[in-house]
């Protein structure tokens, strides 16, 4: 409220240099018209203290404007009490000040309303355009399947169409990247265009604006940890941004699983670290197939620590098909092919 910063110079009563000390309203004749005002009905506009003068120029008071009523102002005095002063009791300067303030407030309200209407209209327009675009995709895809008989060419054309539409849809929501309709476009792109430029952009936008939404798991499902620096960077960002326990667990386990098939020592160390974290903190998180992560992480940890090339194979103690007990380690000293098989 910049207006309230306007300083008023009429600090004193200015009726000459009378030896009579200036009295304040409270002690003066205006006391009769001042009424107590309930604090509860206050409008919260930021206030600064201003010196108010009465219509006779005799009395002044330092107070904040608490509320602007149709025919009065409510003043907040420094002792915390409030006073209701009819406009007709205010000096010309104060009345002008109040009138200007009222005008500004009305203007602002109108502007805000217009803005709101505009943005709502713009939002509706975008939504309608996106919807029409995605519907046109469905129609064009159907046309394609009816006219193109060659399967490979059909797949190519369908993918090209998806890329094109995804690019246009992303463009439509460019100005409102955090809107719900934008999220719909990102997810549509991930589902339909799957890979390529548009899908990469959609994944990045999801991470930028919706990392903390449950739908981020659809991005996680698409990312192949270790496949590219971009994918790894997105996974790191999701880990850093998401506060969702399931998302954290699933991302960590998925990264660990990718690392488990790499053969570097740093990959192995990071993999073991992540699996330890999953076992400790995310054991009860369910993966997309509704299986808890804990047992899977334990199995993978065992595999990473014991079943990689270069590790001594864990022993197997069991019975053969005739019920005779034996151990894998019985065959030490020989080259062994261990064959997990079944006759089905």
């Amino acid at each position: 409220m910049k207006l309230l910063r306007k300083t008023v110079s009429a600090r004193t009563l200015g009726r000459g240099s009378s030896d009579r000390p200036p009295r304040v309203w409270l002690a003066g004749r205006l006391v009769a018209v001042l009424t107590l005002w309930s604090v509860g009905a206050a409008i919260g506009w930021a206030q600064e203290t201003r010196t108010w003068t009465d219509d006779t120029g005799t009395y002044t008071v330092e107070a904040e404007l608490k509320e602007l009523k149709r025919d009065a102002v409510v003043l907040l005095l420094s002792d915390g009490s409030t006073k209701n002063v009819p406009l007709e009791r205010l000096s010309d300067a104060d009345r002008k000040f109040v009138a200007e303030l009222r005008r500004q407030r009305q203007l602002q309200t109108a502007e805000r309303r217009a803005e709101l209407v505009n943005s709502r209209k713009r939002g509706d327009d975008i939504k309608a355009e996106v919807k029409a675009l995605l519907e046109s995709y469905t129609v064009r895809l159907k046309e394609l399947t009816q006219t193109e008989t060659d399967r490979a060419r059909l797949n190519n054309e369908a993918m090209r169409l998806a890329q094109e539409v995804a690019g246009q849809a992303l463009k439509l929501v460019e100005d409102a990247p955090q809107a719900d309709i934008a999220k719909e476009v990102y997810l549509w792109t991930l589902r339909t265009a799957r890979q390529g430029n548009a899908a990469d952009r959609a994944a990045q936008l999801m991470v930028d604006h919706f990392a903390d939404s449950p739908e981020i798991l659809q991005v996680v499902a698409m990312l192949r940890p270790g496949s590219s620096r971009e994918h790894d960077a997105l996974l790191d960002q999701i880990m850093a941004k998401s506060t969702d326990k399931s998302v954290q667990g699933i991302v960590k386990f998925s990264v660990a699983r990718a690392l488990s098939s790499q053969n570097s020592e740093t990959a192995e160390a990071r993999c073991i670290e992540l699996l330890g974290e999953v076992i400790k903190r995310y054991a009860d998180v369910l993966d997309p197939r509704q299986q808890p992560l804990g047992p899977q992480a334990e199995r993978l940890l065992f595999a990473v620590e014991n079943l990689k090339i270069g590790k001594v194979a864990p022993d197997i103690i069991g019975t053969d098909l005739d019920g005779v007990g034996f151990k894998l380690s019985d065959y030490r000293g020989k080259v062994v092919v261990l064959d997990f098989w079944g006759d089905w």
């Binding site: 199995r299 993978l300 065992f302 595999a303 079943l307 990689k308 090339i309 270069g310 590790k311 001594v312 194979a313 864990p314 197997i316 069991g318 019975t319 053969d320 098909l321 005739d322 034996f326 894998l328 380690s329 065959y331 030490r332 000293g333 020989k334 080259v335 062994v336 092919v337 261990l338 064959d339 997990f340 098989w341 079944g342 006759d343 089905w344």
Partner: protein, 113 residues
């Protein structure tokens, strides 16, 4: 599958070599019959009545069949999922490390795997 493995076991019978299976069929009776019928000449652990969810394959994190590990004489895992000619090469290498020069050749058999 079966012919290749059968042939390996036969050819390397006088070498420090063993083919050990982990069988994940649920029904023991049935698999015993198959072993007899198809003349499967290697020893197998049985993964138990839970089949592919049995304890051995679970501990070894096996999610696809067949899964193959090749171990050297010290029990160290040296190859994973080397099959067919790749398995032959792996065995040739590991046996050579032990001073056994072998050349593995398979007769073509009529039986389909």
């Amino acid at each position: 599958m079966y012919p290749h493995e059968r042939s390996l076991v036969k050819q390397l019978s006088d070498k420090p070599f063993a083919l050990i299976g982990v069988n994940s069929d649920r029904e023991l009776d049935k698999i015993r019959e198959t072993v007899k019928e198809k003349n499967l000449n290697w020893r197998s652990f049985w993964n138990g009545p839970q089949g592919t969810s049995g304890p051995i394959s679970a501990e070894w994190n096996v999610t696809g069949w067949p899964t193959i590990y090749i171990l050297d004489k010290d029990g160290v895992i040296r190859f994973k999922n080397a099959r067919g000619p790749a398995m032959d090469r792996a065995l040739t290498t590991l046996l050579a490390e032990m001073g056994h020069e072998v050349s593995i050749e398979h007769e073509t058999e009529d039986e389909t795997p």
